[in-house]
């Protein structure tokens, strides 16, 4: 092998090795940052992780939204029409947050089984239902998963 080629080979080898290590780290971090989605029924059944954040979705139960006095903490219930989970969120709710509306919340369960949300999402379209929520609703209705494409409210 001539020296120029060898040099180039070493160079490429070094670059590939460096990038492989970095990508390895990135993929490892990727696995830790995945947030799975759970429906209220799954949370009540104890399927959801206890110490790891996840996403919870469903409809906001009518009449359940309750504002704790003198602060920005809101407490409400999220349902998939089978089971409900209580959610607590401190902060400003999105414009489209309403009772009966489909939402997705990010957060963790506390020891009392209350979901402490650090983010609540309600999309900017009043006919829009987060696909996970629509799927979860279908599941609790029919007992089997509805495949895929949900763009509208039931």
């Amino acid at each position: 092998m001539n020296p120029v080629r060898r040099k180039r080979l070493i160079l490429i080898g070094l670059m590939v090795a460096g990038i492989a290590i970095a990508v390895g780290f990135a993929l490892n971090a990727f696995n830790q940052n995945l947030m799975f989605f759970y429906a209220p029924s799954e949370v009540v059944a104890g399927d959801a992780p206890v110490d790891h954040p996840f996403r919870l979705g469903g409809l906001v139960t009518k009449g359940s939204v309750q504002r704790l006095p003198n602060g920005l903490t809101t407490r409400f219930q999220v349902t998939d029409m089978a089971k409900t989970v209580t959610v607590e969120y401190t902060g400003i709710l999105p414009d489209l947050f309403r009772e009966g509306q489909g939402i997705v919340a990010h957060g963790k369960l506390n020891t009392h089984g209350v979901f402490i949300a650090d983010e609540v999402l309600a999309k900017h379209d009043e006919n829009y239902m987060p696909p996970e929520v629509a799927d979860a609703l279908m599941k609790s209705k029919t007992g089997k998963p509805a495949n895929g494409t949900a763009g509208t409210a039931p």
């Binding site: 990135a26 990727f30 947030m35 999309k123």
Partner: protein, 666 residues
């Protein structure tokens, strides 16, 4: 009548596109000059018919012709005129019409500004662009006709999504599409070169200015989108790692790699295969962006439609384009000659390193964007990738990239002596390390990440200054530099200079706003005062306010500092009359070094409101950096050496228009 004319014009444009994709290409292969010569007139013809179609749709919106379904869905008599025009591309069908219209504009730009290129090459490039045009025109005509009628016609339209009723969003899609579609020129040049089997430095020189201009538009489009999200979504974020944002960011990353790789191919003849692959990749990612956004597989503000037929069409189209181009590449790659060799320490190596890093980042963004779809498809559960991951990944790779970025302009092509490079970089290195450490010390910012960011920005700045200083000495004085800048070549150097400066500015902005912003969500009663980061906010209640097509609750917030009034802000909570959805309009006091950002949350009992009070240091630097990068791209593309042959040909006549500005107006 007018809409039918538009529809008819679209059909004619499709016919022309079919002819354009066949005859010039075949003519170039079997040496039939008359067929080759058809390329340009066909491109002009397509542009004319698409302009007619586009004008017809604009006219339908301006005249509130609700018998056209698309207008009935997105238009409204009460929309201000500017939003009637921008409503044309406010939803699926119209935005695709804009896409092909822009494609035809790029085509006539190619037809007009390539007089110096071999006719055969131009014919092939235009043929390939014609093929892309066929794909999009048939998509429009068969699945999403913007001119479809509705009977009976409604009396009033459904109105443009209020979120899109904004100047930033009126110009964001055209800019972004100029970038997306502009990548098709680099793609077509690459395919044309592969068809001819001749990839040389001339090919790189021809496609370089086009790629730079497309990249510039893409940068501006992304900056506009980010700026819009910041002031319009009402919670002060400027980038969310939303799949749709990623869809525009990935072609940008690949385009950035392509711009640099093209430079190596042009100057040194190296990296040819890599450059071709990047050109294919950049456009494929643009197409995938369109697919992701328009097919409805991703649900977000941007996903207008979830019609499976449309999704399947784009998917099939995507597979033909990517599969076909890679197949052609596989056929031709063995015949591509090797470029010049280079040593381990050389500018080529550093650029190669940066290229690899850019592609690694692109792949990771792609992974993060597609992973939820893959998990869903394989029934592994419904996931989302948290944006801490995207951030940490960025923080890992960007510093490496910036280190290389500082050194590369001072490194020689082919071979660089290590000791000499170190001597040149010594001062820059010293200054940046000292600056970084000082910032990281407790009495300054006190965080290591801020120190690192300032150090890296200083590194970019000082290396750029070193390089400018060396150029100054080499050229012999400031006047020579000005002459150099204004007329002769060297603009690609200054383009690089400004674009890299933009990166430094961007890094500073991102770091300061993420490290030192203060965000307070509070409950306020009228006349209550709250101090955030030294600024005193007095909430003076909310009163009703009427806009052209909305009603608003308008708050008044006085902001003062040290007893002096800084600003009076009027955040609004709007309800649009037709769509009745609430919209938050933030009140922002902007300045170069900090933004004061106030937005209304929701009314609470007793006249209280929930408010967001934000202090955002240096957030403007993020977009300023982006604009500097775009300016750098423009400057580099205007380097006269790309037009030398044309100038020589036209000497005696008036100097031709700059290909750039022409591309921009088209």
């Amino acid at each position: 009548m007018i809409p039918e004319l538009g529809h008819f014009a679209l059909i004619l444009a499709l016919c022309l596109a079919i002819v354009q994709s066949v005859f010039p290409l075949v003519g170039s292969l079997n040496r039939t000059p008359s067929w080759v010569a058809m390329a340009r007139p066909l491109a002009y013809g397509q542009f004319v018919f698409l302009a007619i179609a586009f004008a017809a749709l604009v006219y339908a919106f301006l005249s509130d012709d609700f018998s056209v379904l698309y207008v009935a869905q997105n238009g409204n008599t009460e929309l201000p005129t500017i939003y009637k025009v921008s409503a044309v591309w406010g939803a699926h069908e119209g935005s695709l019409l804009l896409w092909v219209f822009i494609l035809s504009a790029w085509m006539i730009a190619v037809a007009a500004f390539t007089r110096s290129l071999p006719e055969v090459m131009v014919a092939r490039v235009l043929s390939v662009m014609g093929m892309i045009s066929i794909g999009f025109l048939s998509f429009l005509l068969f699945t999403s006709n913007p001119f479809a009628r509705i009977f009976p016609a409604p009396l009033q339209g459904g109105e443009l999504n209020p979120l899109l009723q904004d100047f930033g969003l009126a110009v964001h899609p055209p800019m972004l599409y100029m970038g997306y579609v502009g990548m098709s020129v680099a793609f077509s040049f690459a395919i044309a070169a592969l068809i001819g089997g001749k990839l040389d430095t001339a090919w790189a020189r021809w496609s370089r200015p086009w790629t730079l201009v497309a990249w510039m538009f893409l940068s501006i489009g992304i900056v506009l989108g980010s700026w819009w999200a910041y002031y319009e979504l009402g919670w002060g974020g400027w980038w969310f790692w939303d799949p749709v944002e990623n869809a525009s960011f990935m072609p940008w990353l690949a385009g950035t790699a392509l711009v640099h790789s093209l430079a190596v191919t042009e100057k040194r003849g190296a990296f040819k295969r890599w450059t071709v692959l990047l050109a294919l990749l950049a456009f494929s990612l643009s197409l995938m962006g369109t697919f992701l956004v328009r097919s409805g597989v991703l649900t977000s503000v941007h996903a207008f439609a979830s019609d499976p037929a449309r999704g399947m069409f784009i998917l099939a189209f995507l597979m033909i384009v990517i599969g076909g181009s890679l197949f052609l590449y596989a056929l031709r790659a063995p015949g591509i000659s090797r470029g010049g060799g280079f040593g381990i320490l050389s500018r080529e190596t550093l650029l190669l390193g940066n290229n690899l890093l850019l592609i690694v980042i692109t792949s990771l963004v792609l992974l993060g964007t597609l992973a939820p779809l893959l998990y869903d498809a394989f029934d592994w559960g419904k996931i989302s990738v948290g944006f801490p991951w995207f951030n940490s990944m960025f923080v890992t790779f960007t510093p490496l990239m910036i280190l290389l970025m500082g050194a590369a302009p001072l490194t020689r092509w082919k071979h660089q002596d290590g000791g000499e490079l170190l001597r040149q970089l010594r001062l820059a290195l010293l200054i940046s390390v000292v600056a970084g450490v000082i910032v990281a010390l407790p009495f300054a910012a006190g965080t290591w990440s801020a120190g690192l960011a300032v150090g890296l920005s200083m590194w970019l700045l000082t290396t750029l200054l070193t390089s400018a200083w060396r150029r100054l000495r080499h050229r012999g004085g400031i006047r020579a530099i000005i002459a150099d800048f204004a007329s002769r070549g060297g603009r690609s150097y200054y383009g690089m200079w400004f674009a890299h400066l933009g990166v430094a500015v961007f890094v500073i902005g991102v770091t300061f706003v993420t490290q030192f912003d203060v965000e307070k969500d509070v409950r306020m009663s009228p006349a209550q005062e709250i101090v955030v980061n030294g600024y005193r906010f007095r909430f003076d209640g909310v009163s009703p306010h009427e806009g052209p097509n909305y009603l608003a609750q308008r708050g008044t917030v006085h902001v003062s500092r040290n007893g002096r009034e800084v600003a009076v802000l009027h955040p609004e909570k709007r309800t649009y009359k037709v769509q009745t959805r609430p919209m938050t309009e933030a009140g922002i006091d902007a300045s170069l070094f900090r933004d004061i950002y106030v937005s209304l949350g929701e009314p609470l009992d007793g006249g209280d409101w929930a408010l967001r009070l934000y202090y955002k240091p240096m957030v403007r630097w993020i977009w300023l950096g982006g604009l500097l990068m775009a300016f750098g791209g423009l400057l580099a593309a205007s380097d006269p050496r790309y037009r030398l042959r044309m100038l020589a040909k036209l000497s005696g006549k008036a100097a031709p228009a700059d290909p750039l500005t022409a591309g921009g107006q088209a």
